[in-house]
């Protein structure tokens, strides 16, 4: 298992770090102060965080230190003891402002922890802060941030995007020199895309594998919480922490959770891999050559490689995804009206006038665009042609993947067709062109399939990511394959 390229070599492996904390070789409080100081410094330059939760982090560190002293038996098996964990800003942490990158949620401090965060805290993880994202997750470059939010920059080249929508999560994962794991969220590619642009590992699990309780919804039939880490070990460790059935979330799967760490370096001899041929036409040449080198590496380790065709997901995926995601988003966002939590204004006019005033002044442009699009796709007269049609094509896309998984253990494509673009390039793109960037990632998301970004660029230059897609609940295969890199 190698660390991702460009990581500082002195960075301690998370497992070794947890051991040192348990044996009190490292002072956790001092370490936490140092990590917070470094995070502030990085944040000033790159804008990866909406909030740094330093009071909570110090409080947790003190509590853990006390437990190690007084009740070692409680802490001895904790997997994330003292490890800094950043949380995407659409996942609730009790008492810490949670905005999903939107001005309409400014000031919202949840009264509860999301299930993922609750499980992280139970394993001794320390919450470092809330990472920057496109408003409600609506974007692939983290430039669609809400009014007054900062746009995170690529950790390798500040003139470029760090991807989205979990952009801050990808950036801090690359840049932190202390042991750190991020949790992000994906609706149509928002974990693997920033992982690819930042040069780190990111795993979007099977739909329902990780509870969405406490996640601010974008599109309920598509949203998944998952880890980003600087090596595959971190990703496996976090995935086994947050996975599993949750009584508070009726779509969470009641299916046993693997010890994903056990899949690391288990060997990939004779694993069958399908390379999706349509995803290699008209892509950036540097992306292509790096992915081809990654595939060669898998072959050297004994994997059996074959080219396959996945026409429907590539041709129909984008339209299907954007119809369904916008439709669901337009209903989800109906609840934001300037009452009960988040932004509020002086109560004036009747309720329609007040809701319209708050929504119009607090939502950003992309949010308005998607609400209008989604409302259109669900509108009487057009619903059959767009929304219903898309749900049927979604069945066909899932079916096509499932057919291939009868023969193959995993499928491979580039994570993105391009290198992380410069902000000056993004400015010139029209909204429809933004959407086209998700061509590789939307279909595995529509089918609810787990997918992993592996950083394959080898020279320390602009990162390139390769996407490995697995069958439902076969995250273990992805970890096995990812541990070759």
């Amino acid at each position: 298992m190698a660390t991702s390229r460009g990581q500082k070599q002195f960075k301690m492996n998370t497992r070794e770090f947890v051991k040192s904390i348990k044996e009190e070789e490292i002072d956790l409080i001092e370490h936490t102060h140092k990590a917070i100081k470094e995070t502030h410094k990085i944040n000033k330059e790159y804008g990866f965080f909406n909030t740094i939760s330093e009071d909570l982090a110090i409080e947790q560190a003190k509590e853990i230190k006390k437990q190690i002293k007084n009740n070692y038996n409680i802490v001895k098996n904790k997997k994330l003891l003292g490890v800094m964990v950043s949380v995407k800003d659409n996942i609730c942490v009790k008492g810490i402002e949670c905005t999903a990158g939107s001005n309409i949620l400014r000031g919202y401090k949840p009264l509860f922890d999301s299930t993922a965060v609750k499980r992280i805290k139970e394993e001794g993880g320390i919450i470092l802060g809330k990472t920057a994202q496109d408003e409600f997750g609506f974007g692939s470059f983290s430039v669609n941030v809400g009014k007054g939010f900062q746009i995170p920059k690529n950790p390798v080249d500040k003139t470029r995007s760090c991807g989205g929508s979990s952009g801050g999560a990808g950036g801090i994962t690359k840049k932190a020199t202390f042991p750190h794991i991020a949790i992000g969220e994906s609706t149509g590619g928002s974990i693997v895309n920033p992982a690819a642009f930042c040069g780190v590992f990111g795993l979007c699990p099977t739909y329902g594998r990780v509870s969405r309780y406490g996640l601010i919804d974008y599109a309920n039939s598509l949203d998944k919480i998952g880890p980003l880490g600087s090596d595959i070990g971190d990703v496996a460790l976090m995935l086994e922490t947050i996975s599993g059935y949750d009584i508070n979330e009726s779509t969470s799967l009641d299916y046993p959770v693997d010890e994903y760490s056990d899949y690391i370096n288990k060997g990939i001899k004779n694993m069958k891999i399908g390379i999706i041929k349509e995803t290699f036409s008209d892509i950036d040449k540097s992306v292509e050559s790096n992915i081809r080198a990654g595939i060669d590496k898998l072959e050297e380790h004994g994997a059996k490689i074959q080219e396959i065709s996945l026409k429907l997901p590539i041709e129909q995926g984008l339209a299907t995804y954007y119809v369904l995601a916008s439709s669901e988003a337009s209903t989800n966002l109906a609840k934001y009206c300037g009452m009960r939590y988040g932004s509020s204004q002086r109560l004036e006019g009747n309720f329609n006038e007040y809701f319209t005033k708050v929504r119009s002044s607090e939502f950003g442009d992309e949010v308005k665009r998607r609400i209008i699009l989604g409302t259109f796709a669900r509108m009487s007269g057009y619903r059959d042609a767009y929304y219903l049609k898309a749900t049927k094509i979604r069945s066909m896309i899932t079916e096509e993947y499932k057919k291939h998984f009868k023969k193959y253990d995993a499928l491979i494509s580039p994570t993105t067709p391009i290198l992380p673009p410069k902000f000056s390039e993004i400015e010139k793109l029209k909204p429809v062109q933004h959407y086209l960037m998700d061509v590789m990632t939307v279909s595995p998301n529509l089918a609810g399939l787990p997918h992993l970004n592996v950083p394959v660029e080898d020279s320390g230059e602009i990162p390139v990511g390769m996407m490995i897609i697995g069958d439902h609940l076969k995250e273990g295969n992805l970890i096995k394959l990812g541990s070759v890199f």
């Binding site: 129909q316 109560l347 809701f355 209008i372 749900t391 429809v432 061509v439």
Partner: protein
């Protein structure tokens, strides 16, 4: 790698997936105005013009869906099979009224205060 390649990639994709509208394109200024009203959004005239152009272009791309024959295909609402989950209806401790009210500025006599209903 520069801007040309990025824009080039976009254009290629557009060509590949065929943006020729296969359905009658129905997005116009009036529809956008109506949708905004339904969504409780107030748009300026410039915004309405801009959104009409942008959304028309997006809907044109969406019309690629029309090429697929879905006659005998069932709908998928979720990507994996999900069973109905029921639990015992047992009361549990919840947020206190005081805590819930902490999240809003507009409140009165222990209740949230909202805008006029009539």
């Amino acid at each position: 790698v520069g801007e040309e390649i990025l824009i080039f990639s976009c254009t290629k994709f557009l060509n590949n997936i065929s943006i020729r509208p296969t359905m009658k394109t129905i997005i116009d200024f009036k529809i956008v105005e109506h949708l905004a009203k339904l969504s409780r959004l107030e748009l300026s005239n410039e915004e309405k013009i801009q959104f009409t152009d942008e959304i028309k272009e997006i809907i044109d791309v969406f019309s690629v869906l029309d090429k697929v024959d879905t006659d005998k295909v069932p709908s998928s609402i979720q990507p994996v099979d999900i069973k109905n989950v029921l639990r015992q209806d047992e009361p549990e401790e919840s947020f206190s009224q005081e805590d819930a009210l902490k999240l809003d500025h507009n409140k009165k006599d222990g209740y949230f205060k909202g805008p006029k209903a009539v």
